[in-house]
């Protein structure tokens, strides 16, 4: 069953001058159709300005479609009655870890979402505890967020979303401001949530390495959905990805170059192990 469905989605940013006349129209999303299965882990790839963040904001009703429709869990996002039910279904984690933590104590921040949707006090406490545990941050529950590292702050933000018990969680470039260690921490936490709790994960990113373990990859360029498929399918088209100004993971690139040079190995190799195996099979 699909949890998120976009049909013929168009979004235009309209800039007006002081008299309210339209000065410039920028099409951020240009007739996109997308279908995301419940329980899957998908990635939306694209370089800056490809429309991937704009798309993410449609899922959480922070933006409304100019044309076309987005359904989240069967609910049309353009219906204002559904705004809050949809935000409860689809939680969102943003890029800057500092600008999305509201409270001065970790556990209070995680409790912010449940407080907003009117969860009774006792249940808030169980939810906060559970979601802090699920991202491995329970030790820091009484700490101030200012003392945490970037990766830890992002995990707190993820716990804050999890405490609202959403069916799906959208991460809008959650690792863009983190160091490699923080990046690993956050991704591990997200993968764990997807596997253990069956939460649908939509990861918006431009880091190729983060995409390798996904179920499905969508590639966007200039507002259009240009490629989709499993990571293997997408990464086997190295030349096409380059046209969309995206790089493939280093291992995939190496395998591709080796193949170009005449070695008999398959396209779309994603991990070091796969490459080793393919090379060993050569006689």
């Amino acid at each position: 069953m699909s949890i998120i469905k976009a049909k013929d989605l168009v979004h235009e940013y309209i800039r007006r001058d002081e008299d309210g006349n339209v000065k410039m129209i920028q099409t951020a999303i240009n007739h996109v159709d997308m279908d995301i299965e419940e329980g899957s882990f998908v990635a939306v790839l694209g370089h800056n300005g490809s429309g991937k963040s704009t798309f993410a904001k449609h899922i959480n009703v922070l933006l409304s479609p100019t044309e076309g429709t987005v359904w989240v869990d069967g609910k049309d996002t353009s219906n204002p009655l559904f705004t809050y039910p949809i935000r409860r279904t689809a939680g969102m984690v943003f890029q800057n870890p500092d600008n999305q933590i509201i409270a001065s104590v970790v556990e209070e921040d995680v409790g912010f979402g449940p407080e907003n949707i009117g969860v009774p006090t006792d249940e808030i406490w169980t939810r906060v505890e559970e979601s802090l545990k699920s991202v491995g941050m329970i030790k820091y529950r009484t700490h101030s967020p200012n003392k945490l590292s970037g990766g830890q702050k992002q995990r707190v933000a993820i716990a804050g979303v999890m405490a609202m018990e959403p069916k799906c969680i959208i991460l809008d470039e959650p690792t863009a401001m983190l160091d490699p260690n923080g990046r690993k921490e956050v991704l591990a936490a997200v993968h764990e949530l997807n596997k253990k709790k069956g939460v649908t994960v939509i990861l918006i990113t431009h880091y190729m390495e983060e995409v390798v373990d996904c179920d499905r990859v969508f590639v966007m360029d200039s507002g259009k959905l240009v490629m989709q498929g499993t990571p293997k399918e997408v990464f086997s088209k190295v030349e096409e990805l380059k046209e969309h100004r995206l790089d493939v993971p280093q291992i995939t690139l190496l395998a591709h170059e080796l193949k170009e040079a005449g070695l008999d190995i398959p396209e779309g190799i994603l991990t070091r192990e796969e490459l080793v195996e393919a090379l060993c099979r050569l006689s």
Partner: protein, 268 residues
């Protein structure tokens, strides 16, 4: 250099006063301030002193730490005492120097003013020293809740206060960063007199404001994404509940207030 700024200056300790409900402490501070302006005679003054000493002892905050707060307003205290001394009219001057005449009433007023100001600072600092900023905003929100019926946005004010407290360290860090970035490109924040120094701060303010607005925008979006719609329909993770100690504190408090009022009526 900016990191030295502390706000709310909470002093962590394990005392009865620390554990009191913040609403009790807010009411207590109010009652205390009122009583300072109510007392007339020596007996009233003694009662208030006893109350203050009791509070200081119970709070387990070192007394020296508390009177540090007095340093900041020494000049203000001297000035107001001086004005009271010189400008209060009376009948028999005790001291005359040219056009300046000091009357016994003036001496009395000056002494009273000194006592009131110093008691005010020490007393109110007990509240800020024993209550975390978060508890304080929580206390204000619940304490002022009745005013929301007449259209005062109590929840919004409390939310703004707590967000401001959360972002103070972040913005201070950012100011530090912008300063260093500008110093690296040759800006000088140390040179010149006060006016010069203030002028040097202007190029610092623009990027700081831009970044603060960007943060505010981001934060608003993050709050909306987490279903924030204002105070209505919200539950509390840490609701304020009165305990036995709070009830006792209220009894002591009102007994104190009643004593001060009665003493005033009888003129002691």
């Amino acid at each position: 250099m900016l990191r030295e700024i502390t706000l709310g200056q909470y002093y962590p300790a394990d005392s009865v006063i620390h554990k009191l409900d913040p609403r009790v402490k807010l009411v207590a501070t109010l009652v205390y301030v009122v009583s300072l302006f109510l007392f007339k005679g020596v007996v009233g003054f003694a009662v208030i002193t006893a109350f203050l000493v009791l509070a200081v002892k119970l709070s387990k905050v070192p007394f020296l730490y508390m009177i540090k707060g007095l340093k900041a307003i020494v000049i203000l205290m001297i000035l107001s005492a001086l004005f009271n001394l010189v400008l209060t009219p009376g009948i028999n001057p005790v001291f005359v120097l040219g056009p300046i005449k000091v009357y016994p009433e003036g001496v009395r007023m000056a002494v009273l003013m000194l006592i009131r100001l110093s008691y005010l600072i020490v007393g109110t600092s007990i509240m800020t020293l024993t209550t975390t900023p978060n508890q304080l905003t929580d206390g204000l929100e619940t304490g002022l809740a009745p005013f929301s019926k007449i259209g005062v946005p109590v929840h919004a004010i409390a939310m703004m206060m707590s967000i401001a407290l959360r972002f103070i360290p972040i913005l201070i860090e950012e100011t530090d960063l912008i300063m260093k970035a500008q110093m690296a490109r040759g800006a000088d924040f140390e040179k010149g007199n006060i006016i010069q120094k203030a002028k040097n701060m202007v190029p610092l303010l623009v990027p700081l404001f831009v970044s603060a607005f960007r943060r505010a925008d981001d934060l608003a979006m993050a709050m909306e994404a987490r279903c924030y719609t204002g105070g209505a329909g919200r539950t509390k993770m840490k609701p304020l509940r009165y305990g036995k100690a709070d009830a006792l504190a209220y009894i002591v408090l009102f007994a104190f207030l009643a004593t001060v009022i009665v003493l005033r009526i009888f003129g002691y």
